[in-house]
């Protein structure tokens, strides 16, 4: 039966489509009953958003995006997160291995080859430099305009991937103050968007004049020492719509994403959990309190 074979192939479609469909179902009480009404409103908002973007593009002085995602990630046969190690840092493949078009002039020097397969022997290789769970044999490049401690590029089988540091291989967390400086924040941020926890529904955008202050205050995030109860509290906040995914839209067309749970004073950058500075909460909690998001699919 053709449909059975089709169904087998359909099973392994991109995770984001599964999450999108699952999430929308969970949201039916709050959103979908009023689909038509909200659809009309959304259409108006889309027109407004497109107009705003067009206006911003016209008024912008920076160059157009130079790095463009050209294909989503394929399914991971091992189910393992796609990451690699370089110079004592762990890097995650952006978009879990999405393919990017990176202009040749943006690529810097060759830093090495991904020689060690973490999937085959996680215990031996998970902390080793140039070990990877993806794109084995790929060439690691620095990126012009970025510190190698923030982002790197990998060329593999003629396609380019972006990798972003998330922690140190010895388990040490990123220091947000210096990390933001390495990343060039806030100078290379052209917009800040606030999404629901799943990162699917856009809830709000930060006024552009707030970007600098928002980023400066976030720099004060310090590694949090969390107990089991704190993790459970974080899990509850994520399910109850109190966790938000934030996107820094960068000048080169890419995004930097992280999570905020203002009600718990928690921020999450890379693989770390951090305590938000009081000053940040005093200044921005109000913005988040006014935002409601659909229930998460896991609830």
């Amino acid at each position: 039966m053709k449909a059975e074979k089709f169904s087998d192939a359909l099973e392994n479609i991109d995770d984001r489509y599964i999450l999108e469909a699952a999430g929308q179902k969970a949201a039916k009480k709050s959103v979908l009953r009023h689909w038509k009404t909200w659809g009309a409103l959304a259409a108006c908002l889309c027109v407004a958003a497109v107009s705003l973007l067009a206006f911003r593009q016209l008024g912008a002085t920076q160059s157009p995006p130079s790095i463009v995602q050209t294909a989503p990630a394929s399914d991971s046969p091992s189910g393992m997160r796609r990451f690699m190690n370089y110079n004592g840092m762990r890097y995650e493949f952006l978009g879990d291995g999405a393919i990017y078009e990176i202009p040749r002039e943006e690529l810097g020097e060759v830093l090495g080859t991904l020689d060690y397969d973490i999937v085959s022997d996680p215990e031996t290789y998970s902390g080793k430099d140039l070990a990877s769970s993806f794109a084995l044999g790929g060439t690691v490049y620095s990126l012009n305009g970025y510190s190698p401690e923030f982002r790197l590029a990998v060329e593999w089988d003629g396609s380019y991937y972006l990798c972003e540091s998330v922690a140190y291989t010895d388990g040490q967390l990123l220091q947000i103050d210096s990390y933001f400086s390495l990343a060039g924040f806030p100078e290379n941020i052209q917009g800040v968007s606030i999404y629901d926890h799943a990162g699917i529904n856009l809830l709000d955008r930060l006024p552009n004049e707030e970007i600098e202050n928002f980023t400066e205050l976030l720099k004060g995030s310090l590694p949090a020492e969390l107990e089991n109860e704190d993790y459970q509290e974080i899990g509850r906040a994520q399910q109850e719509g109190r966790s938000f995914q934030i996107s820094f839209e960068l000048m080169d067309g890419t995004e930097y994403r992280f999570y905020l749970i203002p009600s718990l004073r928690i921020s999450m950058f890379g693989d770390g959990r951090y305590s938000l500075p009081q000053e940040f909460c005093d200044s921005y909690t109000d913005i988040f309190e006014g935002l409601t998001q659909p229930e998460q699919p896991m609830s």
Binding site: F6, I13, D14, D15, A22, K28, W35, D75, Y231, D271
Partner: protein, 185 residues
């Protein structure tokens, strides 16, 4: 509990990992399996088998996102069980969904012409990207999650007739896309 915390429990080989997984995702998994098997007891067994599969795969696997990874296992085990149980007689939801799709899937005239399942997945990802968000949701709720028409109408705020027309249109679009990309099954 957060996904990373659950995965840490799996790595620590703590049985709490299974409990945490069941607490967080159990309801969604049970619903997905029930949609396929139409039997609560079978669905429960499949979901428990899925937890065991996760237990055996993590570590070394570090699934991300955990929910989609788990759903794929549940769907796969449920369809396997369905195939065994219904080898002789097929009359329920999954068969109906498959029969809807069957006429819209281009057939291979020779075995050599059949495309590899992984390549089909790549093309399906591209096809899904061409659909509007609402069409993609309708399509996936019907053919991935095996929801009934009634469930989707409630979900999408459409009446059954409109939904039926919409699904037919999406299937036609699928057929054209598969033919253009020389996908034969």
């Amino acid at each position: 509990m957060e996904d990373t915390q659950i995965i840490q429990l799996f790595f620590a080989r703590s049985e709490e990992a299974i409990m945490a997984l069941a607490e967080k995702y159990g309801t969604a998994c049970q619903k997905l399996s029930f949609n396929i098997l139409q039997d609560n007891r079978d669905a429960e067994e499949c979901v428990n088998d899925s937890y065991l599969t996760v237990w055996n795969q993590v570590p070394p696997a570090i699934p991300s996102p955990l929910f989609a990874y788990l759903c794929k296992i549940v769907r796969n085990l449920s369809i396997d069980r369905y195939r065994k149980r219904h080898a002789a007689k097929r009359t329920d939801t999954l068969t109906v969904a498959w029969e809807e799709l069957e006429p819209f899937l281009p057939a291979a005239s020779t075995p050599e012409q059949e495309m590899d399942s992984r390549q089909i997945t790549i093309i399906l990802n591209q096809f899904l990207g061409t659909l509007s968000r609402q069409d993609r949701l309708i399509f996936l709720r019907r053919y991935w999650f095996m929801d009934s028409y009634q469930e989707i109408t409630q979900l999408a705020g459409l009446n059954e007739n409109t939904l039926s027309v919409r699904l037919t249109r999406i299937r036609k679009k699928l057929k054209t896309y598969l033919q253009e990309n020389e996908v034969y099954l």
